[in-house]
């Protein structure tokens, strides 16, 4: 079982596919769930506390805008933990809306820098492309080490 980072980080389809093939998706939803269910966070859905952008400093220097750093405080640790990654470029918003373009650039850069298996795909626009898209993801996920390799 591998921890698979997905991009867009909140794609339900990618998250579901990763789970179906026996791996653990590293997805934004889980992070947000932690945020909104942790006692002490003031007012969901405003989940980012004033401390969070400071944690994001590890991933983005101080001159990078606070919103990028706040997002990186959530995304950064997922990148650190990733054992594999799937990046889907040019996707439609419904596939996994990623609002901040600068965060997206940095996220993709940082995961590409990790020495882990990465599958990069473009979002499919036709049914054939869709089949091919899912097939490639499935093959990639099958190629990743299973539980026993981890042990």
């Amino acid at each position: 079982m591998a921890k698979v980072f997905i991009y867009p980080t909140n794609s339900l389809i990618l998250s579901d596919l990763v789970e179906r093939f026996g791996h653990t998706p590293l997805a934004m939803m889980e992070k947000i769930h932690e945020k909104i269910s942790t006692v002490g966070v003031d007012s969901p859905p405003m989940n980012i506390t004033p401390e969070d952008p400071k944690h994001g400093l590890k991933y983005a220097a101080v001159e990078v805008p606070a919103g990028v750093r706040g997002r990186m405080a959530l995304v950064g640790p997922m990148i650190d933990n990733a054992e594999a990654a799937i990046i889907v470029s040019e996707s439609v918003a419904a596939f996994g809306c990623m609002g901040c373009a600068r965060t997206n650039e940095l996220t993709k850069f940082l995961i590409r820098k990790r020495d882990v298996p990465i599958l990069e795909l473009t979002y499919p626009r036709t049914e054939d492309e869709g089949h091919d898209f899912v097939y490639k993801i499935a093959e990639f996920l099958k190629s990743l080490p299973k539980k026993e390799a981890e042990a």
Binding site: K54, L57, K58, A60, A61, V62, E63, V64, P65, V68, A101, R102, E105, L106, K108, F109, R112, K113
Partner: protein, 414 residues
């Protein structure tokens, strides 16, 4: 001083030509006998650089910047150092600037620094940074020096204090320390203190090295053989005093006016940052805190060690707001020791947030400068970074020691 060859500095920028700062960049380089060059690359590299570099950005000029960085790393552009510059307010450039700098540093072995400019950036602001860059490129032999020989003096004309040391055969035999009021007079006084302690006269000194804000003025006055910016001098002085001349180290220098964080390898600075636009987390802030608490600056550290910083809300981003928080806390009845601890914590927090993000922290972490003697500061830094902080003996004299050490190289040349 003999004329040295021109240093070629690659300007890796996204368009400083349009920002009103190009003349200032050229002028700073010119004054150091350096030349800015634009790394050449194939125009087709722009089509694939996003994928090649891994950072796909919208701005074509940032793509150009990454392609130029790649040309430097691949040796297509033959240069001695790299100056990476982007606009202060651009989010995308801030990301690219940081990664480009890291990429060049890790893959080329060339000295590289970066700066984010505003339209008000002046040559004087760039000078220290660019001087460090040219020194690392030009005088590596000098920076490789590990022992002081002969009798030399080092004078550090800082913004707040002027320091002097006399060294003989690798030992400090005299030291002086006075507040900086009139630059030359203060330097004379500190120098005399050091000479008296060493039992020597000016004529006995074989070579003089100067550093700090007033380095050129006092360098001319004392006919110094070496007038050198504080980044290379202090990193050399720090690893010498901490006995860490080989391998990697990180030097943090909290000065009166600005801070420096320097990543050092075998005594030679690699990446470094220097406080630029804001002096919020400097020795000055601690001085103001001591004054407001009615204690001497020398007593602030002991007071801080007894306090708990979390008991006081302190804004760490600005000297003005920081003092405001401090006054407000005292007005609400906060204990002076807690306020002192919060001030020390605030200084190291700002260094962490503003400077250490761009410099990889490698142990040993050597803390130098006058503020390192304020016990609360190393304590707060250790607590924040979770690493052991080393304050070497004579840490407040770091610049003067570094200058005395480096200038002894000139005795052997004669």
């Amino acid at each position: 001083m003999k004329e040295e060859g021109k240093v070629k500095i690659a300007l890796v920028s996204c368009g400083s030509e349009f920002a009103g700062v190009q003349k200032e960049l050229e002028s700073a380089a010119e004054s150091l006998n350096a030349k800015l060059v634009y790394p050449e690359m194939e125009i087709t590299a722009l089509d694939t650089i996003g994928k090649d570099f891994g950072l796909e950005v919208a701005s074509p000029d940032l793509k150009l910047m990454m392609a130029r960085a790649k040309a430097v790393v691949e040796g297509i552009a033959n240069v001695d150092g790299v100056f990476v510059a982007t606009c202060f307010r651009c989010a995308e450039a801030a990301i690219v600037r940081n990664e480009v700098r890291r990429y060049i540093f890790e893959n080329s072995g060339l000295p590289v620094i970066s700066y984010s400019f505003t339209e008000r950036t002046a040559a004087a602001t760039l000078l220290t940074r660019m001087e460090a860059l040219t020194t690392i490129a030009r005088r590596k032999h000098l920076l490789a020096r590990e022992k002081q020989t002969g009798i030399t003096a080092g004078l550090d004309s800082g913004s707040t204090t002027t320091k002097a040391v006399i060294m003989r055969d690798n030992e400090i035999i005299g030291e002086g320390w006075v507040p900086t009021i009139k630059v030359i007079e203060s330097a004379e006084k500190a120098f005399q203190q050091a000479l008296d302690q060493a039992g020597l006269k000016k004529e006995d000194i074989q070579a003089i090295g100067t550093t700090g804000y007033g380095r050129f003025l006092i360098g001319d006055h004392f006919d110094a053989q070496l007038a050198q910016e504080e980044i290379t001098v202090n990193s050399k002085g720090a690893v010498y005093l901490a006995d860490s001349q080989r391998g990697s180290a990180t030097v943090i220098d909290i000065g009166g006016m600005d801070n420096k964080a320097i990543s050092v390898q075998d005594g030679i600075p690699g990446m470094f940052t220097m406080g630029g636009i804001c002096a919020g987390a400097s020795g000055r802030f601690l001085e103001m805190t001591a004054k407001r608490l009615g204690v001497e600056i020398t007593e602030l550290g002991d007071l801080a060690v007894k306090g708990i910083d979390k008991n006081v809300d302190m804004n760490s981003y600005c000297i003005v707001f920081g003092i405001q928080s401090l006054v407000n806390s005292l007005a609400k009845g906060a204990a002076p020791e807690d306020v002192a601890a919060a001030a020390c914590h605030s200084v190291v927090e700002q260094i962490f947030e503003q400077q250490l993000q761009e410099v990889e922290v490698k142990e040993p972490l050597i803390l130098v400068g006058g503020s390192s003697l304020i016990a609360g500061v190393p304590k707060a830094l250790e607590a924040l970074l979770k690493v052991e902080v080393l304050v070497p003996p004579h840490s407040q004299l770091i610049g003067a020691v570094g200058a005395a050490l480096l200038v002894s190289g000139y005795i052997e040349q004669e």
